[in-house]
Symmetry: C2
Subunit: 196 residues, 2 copies
DNA sequence: ACCTGAACACCGTTCAAGT
DNA sequence: ACCTGAACACCGTTCAAGT
């Protein structure tokens, strides 16, 4: 994706963003289990200790990655009305999570630790209040949607790589996963509609 | 909880269940992060390699723990009608997950890897079909409920120990967590009711 | 049936020092 | 501003061998 690393030449200094890019490369190529500080350092041709100049520790690196996975610059758009926009936001979030191997797990753990990746929750809550939901309910529905999205997608992603190792997991087709996902979102939004 | 370990005496052989009990003790006393094979061996006063006679690897030990956390022997009971029973099952599952530190995470990862902890999903699906839902819908609603439950509870549990380290996480009271949980379940079940 | 001893191939993190 | 070198305190897992 990035990093035209010149093999065997000058020391090549790195920025914080370089480190994040290299980490995302490893994530997509080998998965979260292989994203270690030592492996990352190796891919940047530095010593592991060099990474601690750019990030305080591994968790804060992962938090940065979670923000990159989840923040989509031109996403304020799509001014569809009411609850349709909420649905669109959910589908878009799923796509962003699926764009990176183990994306959902990275985001979920960062969110759980309160270290970042709060943008989707804010967007969802805003869309819900715009659709006429009161703030407290909007907050709670947003939470239900997020838990479902992160759970479903990380389940999906873990099955994908468990399945690639020949496990006998009864894996659904990509289309059936999408259908299941859409069903869940509609179920929750249907519950919201039934609330009033 | 168990283990009247006699200090400084005969070699004390262990069974597979002894190992699981000791693991649950460590889980509850120190959390999942401190549940390592080496620490577990130490608590049983054996070498780490001894554990691999009882379990093929760490994952299969965790899968066993997940089943113990989730399987409640006398739970076929509570013959309340229709969708009320579903709600009761969800609340009971939450209690079981909360009974062990990091219980939700242990169960979620085991479930994701397809290595166990499938009982709650089966119970929920059965209760839903008993309530008149067609099998495919029951399966999907059960999935939505499970993702929400595991997501909400593990969020809850991770905040609890992040908060115990003085982090500035805006932590809700135990009662507000329960209310939020109940709201989510009712939202989803409301969506199901609105489906017909 | 259950465990030891020793090894292998790893981890994240710290810290003084270099350029 | 960014990195090295060396160390510290750990991991999970394997395997021959013991009782």
């Amino acid at each position: 994706m990035t990093s035209s690393r010149n093999p065997r030449s000058a020391p090549t200094r790195h920025s914080r963003e370089d480190v994040a890019d290299a980490a995302l490369d490893i994530l997509n190529s080998y998965g979260l289990g292989d994203l270690t500080m030592r492996r990352l350092a190796q891919s940047l041709e530095v010593q592991p200790s060099a990474l601690y100049w750019h990030y305080e520790n591994k968790q804060s690196l992962l938090a940065h990655l979670a923000d990159l996975i989840v923040d989509v610059p031109g996403s304020a758009a799509a001014e569809t009305p009411g609850t349709t926009r909420v649905r669109t936001l959910c589908l878009a979030l799923r796509e962003r999570l699926l764009a990176y191997r183990d994306g959902a797990e990275v985001v979920a753990s960062t969110l759980a630790l309160g270290l970042g990746a709060e943008a989707p929750g804010r967007e969802l809550t805003a869309a819900l209040t715009d659709a006429g939901t009161d703030p407290e309910t909007a907050q709670r529905v947003s939470g239900v949607l997020l838990h479902f999205i992160l759970g479903q997608v990380s389940h999906e992603q873990q099955r994908a790589q468990a399945g690639s190792l020949g496990a006998a997991t009864p894996t659904g087709t990509p289309e059936s996963e999408s259908a299941e996902f859409g069903f869940g979102i509609d179920l929750i939004l249907g519950g919201l509609a039934a609330l009033r």
